[in-house]
């Protein structure tokens, strides 16, 4: 029987094993002139101006899931954080923390997927690092990515900029990623096609900014805590109220069904390829049309509006015709028991 090749503590030592990992796995997939220098830090040319800088760590379990994996998520997630400030991503860093015993084939699969995501987004990894922790001290693979992006002059996107009257556009269906992970973790196989929505949104954002400069006030990708939590943060930051229309919020039927079974509210589920755009009402129609013409925003919809009501309050008009408060997520969403 052939032994499965696995990560050893040596691979994080900085010695020969580390070099082999870089030469055999990382460089062939991720190479570009800056990364290939293998210096202590990357030197990147940028035009003068405002830079956006962000970092995020990825610890998703399971690491492979329908629609994506931890590698793709780590690239798209950080690109999206840059995009949500209106920045054009320039480059990324990639830090890996591997658990001793992690299968080398799985590592290759993750790196290949990172390669795919970088190519698709046209954003390179220019610097990286790998550490290995003893078995049991980590869980397979953790990834940190940081990203640098360039913000064009005149672009000012911020949670603080939402104004009464703004239309709230959601770029597509809600909850796909969160429910996919939860149902995988619960070991529940559901009919239908639950898939993570992991996707880079920088091109969508750039086209929106080009089409209606100044009309896009706030962008936010509703990841952990979902749409409900993101909108509460915006309402708080901008000191405005928000009104949502439940019937207008796109939720795929299979996601809605899985939520019913697991006792989840899709408003609180994580998304990894969606953005909320709060835009001037007179441009909302045109921006919505533009978003729908692009693959990233094919199912975009206006889901509500910003109002002058009590600062920080998010209200939902329910399908049944009632109204209720939508609060931030408190604690992990846990399944119901009866």
């Amino acid at each position: 029987m052939k032994m499965t090749e696995t990560i050893l503590l040596d691979h994080g030592s900085g010695g020969r094993a580390s070099q082999e990992l870089i030469k055999n796995i990382f460089l062939p997939q991720l190479t570009n002139p800056v990364l290939a220098c293998l210096e202590d830090s990357a030197i990147v040319d940028t035009p003068a101006g405002q830079l956006a800088f962000t970092t995020d760590s990825y610890v998703v379990d399971p690491i492979f899931f329908p629609g994506g994996d931890i590698g793709e998520l780590a690239i798209n997630g950080t690109i999206n954080d840059l995009a949500m400030r209106g920045a054009k991503p320039i480059c990324l860093s990639l830090g890996l923390i591997l658990e001793e015993g992690f299968a080398l084939d799985d590592l290759k699969r993750v790196i290949l997927s990172i390669q795919g995501a970088c190519r698709k987004a046209d954003v390179p990894v220019v610097t990286g690092d790998t550490k290995v922790v003893p078995k049991g001290k980590g869980d397979k693979i953790f990834i940190n990515t940081s990203g640098i992006g360039l913000v064009d002059p005149g672009i000012q996107i911020s949670g603080k900029n939402a104004r009464p009257g703004d239309a709230i556009i959601l770029s597509g269906s809600m909850g796909d990623h969160g429910i996919t992970i939860l149902s995988q973790r619960a070991g529940i196989s559901l009919q239908g096609n639950l898939r993570s929505d992991t996707m880079a949104l920088h091109r969508l954002v750039q086209q929106m900014l080009a089409a209606a400069p100044g009309a896009v006030h706030t962008l936010r990708d509703p990841t952990r805590g979902g749409v409900a939590t993101s909108l509460n943060e915006i309402a708080e930051a901008a000191q405005v109220a928000i009104e949502l229309d439940e019937t207008a919020i796109p939720v795929k039927p299979e996601v809605a069904a899985a939520c019913e079974i697991l006792g989840m509210d899709p408003l609180y589920l994580a998304n990894e390829g969606k953005c909320l755009a709060l835009v001037a009402p007179e441009h909302a129609g045109r921006l919505l049309e533009l978003m729908r013409s692009l693959p990233e925003g094919a199912d975009a919809a206006v889901i509500g509006r910003v109002s002058e009501g009590p600062a920080g309050r998010v209200l939902l008009k329910t399908a049944a015709g009632g109204t209720r408060i939508v609060s931030s997520l408190t604690g992990e969403p846990l399944p119901r028991i009866c």
């Binding site: 619960a186 070991g187 529940i188 039927p253 809605a256 069904a257 019913e260 697991l262 006792g263 509210d265 309050r313 939902l316 008009k317 329910t318 399908a319 049944a320 015709g321 009632g322 109204t323 209720r324 408060i325 609060s327 408190t330 604690g331 969403p333 846990l334 399944p335 119901r336 028991i337 009866c338």
Partner: protein
Amino acid sequence: MKYVSEYRDKKFIDPLVDELRRTIDRPLRIMEVCGTHTMAIFRHGLRSLMPEGLELISGPGCPVCVTSSAQIDGFIDVASRDGVRVAIFGDLYRVPGSHGSLARAQSQGAQVEVVYSPIDALTLAEKNPQQMTVFLSVGFETTIPLVAATILEAERRQVDNFTVFSTHKIMPPALSALLGDPELRLDGLLCPGHVSTIIGAAAYEPLAANYHLSCVVAGFEPVDVLQALIILARQAREGRAEVENAYGRAVDWQGNLRAQKLMHDVFEPVDCQWRGLGTIPASGMAIREKFSRFDAEKRFDIRLTETPEPKGCLCGLILKGRKNPADCPLFGGRCTPLNPVGPCMVSSEGTCAAHYRYGRT
């Protein structure tokens, strides 16, 4: 979503709200017994649609909320023993006992796994033969037959490292105890849909007769709840106090006889402590002697002792519908879903959690 969205559609809801308004001819106090009802009423914004004069109060029908501090302490005791892995439903994770919660026990080294079904706990036991897997079981009649089936399955598969810590409770004795309180002044009960699928609508007949109380079994969608409220209002108007079933698509008069048999084959009634309500005769379900090798309390020699409820916490009175969450000095300050003091805040279906999440304006 087909067969669900229809029950949430404004075009069916509006006429029902009108009919409810027309039917009510005096102030009514209705208790929704079940936590899932409480949550559904909030989640769909039904409170904002209720006609004036109709007061909905939340009852003791969330199994996590009525689990006593002593029972939680017992769970933590078992979870902290060497060679033990406990399996729980997620809602139990953060429920405070008299010192700490299972979440804290886990941070100190206890092995706590969240499962979606008791049978998953049995699978865990089979996968980890060197450890004892204990299913810490809370639940009403909806859960008990599943646990009974799991114990029978464990016996069939001859799994010796699987036990159940049963704090199961059954609804009718608790409702009787509750309705004996004259200060409650109820006009009707919105009876729990899920529990009723097992025990049947007939189970409420003694309550209707003894306390002259309308009892209507209701489903959990907005249309279901409104239809049941209309029936309750109609009974009040006509001076009737009867059992009616407004959830015919899931509940029948006698209930699920097979599940009832399963439950009684494996479990037997015992006196049981309810948080906020005290000890109620024959309201718990303990594992029968015949299956004692699956009984964690016996295998680990656990003795539950009465422990006082947290100071200032009004959960006891809130569970009885005597106080509202807003009356509690801890609500929203010291007691929030992230740092719950009382059980009504910690379960996602607890009254305080519902008010905290959906009710504050």
